[in-house]
């Protein structure tokens, strides 16, 4: 379970998040919607621990872990996964080799033995089938020369392999055509689990048609100003955000 209390975050001295509180129980999918500049991406980066996002007050906990005490890699090893809006290209690095390193770093942190090559390939093939990705794509250089849709699928593959406690999907729908969106959403849905909290950050209702959230939160000017069920997304689609500003 993710618990954020009264979170204040500055970037370059400017307050972006101003007292954000949010709880995402394990097993649930929560959507964060909001206009540009409301702090959605800041929230995803600060959860992952990115440099330059300065927490001036508040707390972030996942189960027993105090995330603010942990570095980026420690958070990842403890089960925080961020699916990037723009996955980064790393030329010359084989995707599978990278996945194996990442998985073993997590296992090592958990005191588990490293996965041998045979078990790793078995697991990989299982997850490839789950997210509908080809073996050929999985063996290429990390995100290098991938199409937009392939990059997003590769993010979902990594999530499937790393089996996080908290998955943050930052505008996973951006730049995807309808078919690619369906494929990515199918992968995400397959990864819903009673052990996992998921946070969907999005602009658009169309993603929430494909991945039905348990709750929808509206982020406006650095705070959650409104929350509701899946029907809230439809209302936002129709009415925009201005009526919430007034409130």
């Amino acid at each position: 379970m993710l618990t954020i209390e009264n979170l204040h975050v500055e970037v370059d001295g400017k307050a972006i998040l101003k007292g954000l509180s949010l709880t995402v129980p394990a097993g649930e999918v929560h959507a964060i919607m909001g206009p540009n500049g409301s702090g959605k991406s800041t929230l995803s980066y600060v959860l992952a621990g990115k440099e330059g996002y300065v927490v001036t007050a508040g707390s972030i906990r996942i189960g027993d872990f105090d995330l603010l005490e942990m570095s980026v890699d420690e958070r990842a090893q403890a089960g925080v996964f961020l699916a990037f809006q723009y996955p980064v290209e790393v030329p010359g690095v084989n995707n599978k080799v990278f996945l194996r390193h990442a998985l073993n770093a997590k296992r090592k942190a958990a005191g588990q033995p490293e996965l041998d090559a045979v078990s790793f390939i078995k697991l990989l093939n299982e997850k490839l089938a789950l997210v509908g990705m080809s073996k050929e794509l999985a063996g290429r250089e990390l995100n290098s020369g991938y199409s937009g849709g392939e990059k997003k699928k590769n993010e979902i593959l990594q999530m499937a392999m790393l089996d996080p406690k908290l998955a943050i999907l930052d505008e996973i729908d951006s730049g995807l055509d309808i078919d690619a969106l369906k494929a990515v959403a199918a992968g995400v849905n397959a990864l819903r689990s009673p052990q996992r909290s998921m946070l969907l950050i999005t602009h658009y209702q169309r993603l929430l048609d494909a991945i039905a959230p348990d709750h929808v939160h509206v982020l406006l000017d650095g705070r959650i100003v409104h929350a509701g069920g899946p029907e809230l997304a439809l209302e936002l689609e129709e009415r925009g955000y201005d009526w919430l500003r007034a409130a």
């Binding site: 440099e51 330059g52 890699d73 961020l82 980064v88 790393v90 010359g92």
Partner: protein, 502 residues
């Protein structure tokens, strides 16, 4: 950096500041072996040249060759065109000869206890460095044995698997031994590719060269194992001036590896080697180097001056010479392993990974001189700069008038880690034949904070993330290294980069 208001300071992740942080001290080979040495006093004059020659009981022709080179050297000026900066070398402060006393002409079983102890200490040096100096040693994971010639300061201390090689007709021994046992071969080829007149350090080497390896592969023989020489500078205040000569007769093949280390010291030490390769018709020589001389400390104190001339002559038709180097050490590197493509259809290759971290400076590259028809060359250079490192790729591709149909492909990439390092690329291309084709590609990139954040978000530590990015960058070179060397090279890069980020 994520700073929490609570008393718990957040742990740092990758940032510009931490990327700029100075390098660590990870040099594993920096120990010193305390054994007695038989050394020449510091200084260089004709008597030192005669002293070295006498120590080795050399024939008159070789002494004359040395003296001629020495006379030449005295008239030459130190080259200053390279993009490196260091105080003038005091050639009179260096000792030009140092040999462990334990190496006598006695058989191992006839050594007295003290001599035996010294000998054992010497062998332990190599064991500590992971060099298999005994023949039971098969490298882990490698089914073929590797024959080793171990050079300690000025002398070769042991050469393994000689009998196996002799059965195949291969000669692999120290150059000193070759001068005694195979004088006709040495005399024919010594200085034939790198004459003393070539440059300042080649002349110095010709005058005072101590030991190195000699390899001769007869016609039609594929050398049955990898050959390797491990160079160790140990004694204080000495220079190492080894000379290696490899001759591959028609249709023969050899793969040769060299490794180099030195103790961690505050003063600079000079290493001025010469390597000559000769490949006859359809012969192939694959020469791989993992150079890990002591690079100096974070402030640039100490380290080896590595001023080396390496050249291969593709003498015969269809011959091939391939240089692969992984250069992580030395304070200053001045080195351009080159190929003269004389035989028609001959092939030259240069694959290089060069790292400059801390205050290291490297001016390195290659020369491909196309003389024969349909000659081909490939250059793949990967330069990595970190810390306050300075890295210059300097490469020459020359297509002579007669080199009908010659082709060259050059790919020259630089990777910067942090913002206090420098990388330059200086290509020289001369084409005198209109049928030639020359391609040059160059790129410069920087390890980005975004890449580090991405990899670390998947659970990799910062060091593992850097290592992964760097290894990805070097992939095209590691792929052509012999397997066990590729593993070694990756480890070495990791150690050399330790602390280059945060």
């Amino acid at each position: 950096m994520v700073a929490s208001p609570t008393p718990n300071p957040a742990k740092p992740s990758a940032s510009r500041e931490t990327i700029d942080a100075i390098a660590g001290q990870g040099y594993d080979a920096g120990f010193f072996t305390d054994i007695e040495a038989d050394a020449a006093p510091p200084g260089l004059d004709e008597s030192i040249v005669r002293f070295i020659s006498a120590k080795k009981n050399e024939p008159e022709w070789l002494l004359a060759w040395r003296l001629q080179a020495f006379a030449l050297w005295q008239k030459m000026d130190e080259p200053r065109w390279a993009h490196v900066d260091y105080p003038p070398v005091d050639f009179q402060a260096i000792s030009y000869y140092s040999a462990p006393k334990a190496l006598t002409s006695k058989k191992l079983e006839d050594l007295d206890p003290e001599e035996r102890a010294q000998y054992d200490e010497l062998m332990r040096t190599y064991e500590r460095l992971g060099v298999p100096v005994n023949e039971r040693g098969k490298l882990a994971g490698n089914e073929i044995g590797v024959a080793v010639d171990a050079v300690f300061d000025s002398v070769s201390v042991i050469t393994t698997f000689k009998e196996n090689l002799t059965r195949a007709g291969v000669i692999f021994c120290s150059l000193s031994e070759a001068v005694r046992e195979h004088p006709e071969l040495v005399r024919k080829h010594l200085g034939s590719v790198v004459p003393a007149t070539d440059n300042y350090y080649a002349a110095l080497n010709a005058a005072v060269f101590s030991d190195g390896s000699f390899v001769y592969i007869p016609k039609g023989v594929r050398c049955p194992m990898e050959l390797s020489t491990y160079f160790r500078i140990n004694a204080k205040g000495t220079g190492q001036f080894e000379r290696t000569l490899i001759v591959a007769e028609d249709q023969s093949y050899v793969s040769y590896l060299e490794g180099c280390t030195a103790p961690r010291r505050d003063e600079n030490q000079l290493h001025a080697a010469v390597v000559e390769l000769v490949a006859h018709d359809d012969a192939e020589i694959k020469y791989s180097t993992v150079q890990n001389w002591y690079p100096g400390d974070a402030e640039g104190k100490g380290g080896i001056y590595n001023f080396v001339t390496k050249r291969g002559l593709c003498k015969g038709r269809g011959s091939k010479i391939s240089w692969t180097q992984v250069e992580t050490g030395s304070a200053i590197t001045w080195k351009y392993p080159s190929c003269i493509l004389k035989g028609d259809d001959s092939i030259g290759e240069f694959y290089s990974v060069a790292l400059s971290n801390r205050r290291q400076q490297a001016d390195t590259g290659t020369k491909m001189i196309h003389l024969g028809r349909n000659t081909r060359s490939t250059i793949v250079s990967k330069g990595i700069s970190a810390g306050h490192g300075l890295q210059t790729y300097r490469g020459q591709v020359r297509i002579a008038k007669a080199a009908e149909g010659a082709r060259n492909y050059t790919a020259c990439d630089s990777l910067l880690i942090g913002s206090t390092c420098t990388a330059d690329t200086v290509p020289y291309i001369e084409v005198a034949n209109a049928t030639a084709s020359v391609e040059h590609e160059a790129s410069t990139s920087r390890i980005s904070e975004e890449q580090l954040f991405y990899l670390m978000q998947r659970g990799l530590s910062q060091e593992d993330a850097v290592s992964m990015i760097v290894n990805g960058f070097c992939k095209d070179v590691f792929r052509v290294l012999p397997m066990e060397f590729a593993v070694e090279a990756q480890k070495l890069l990791d150690v050399s980069l330790e602390g280059s980020v945060g």
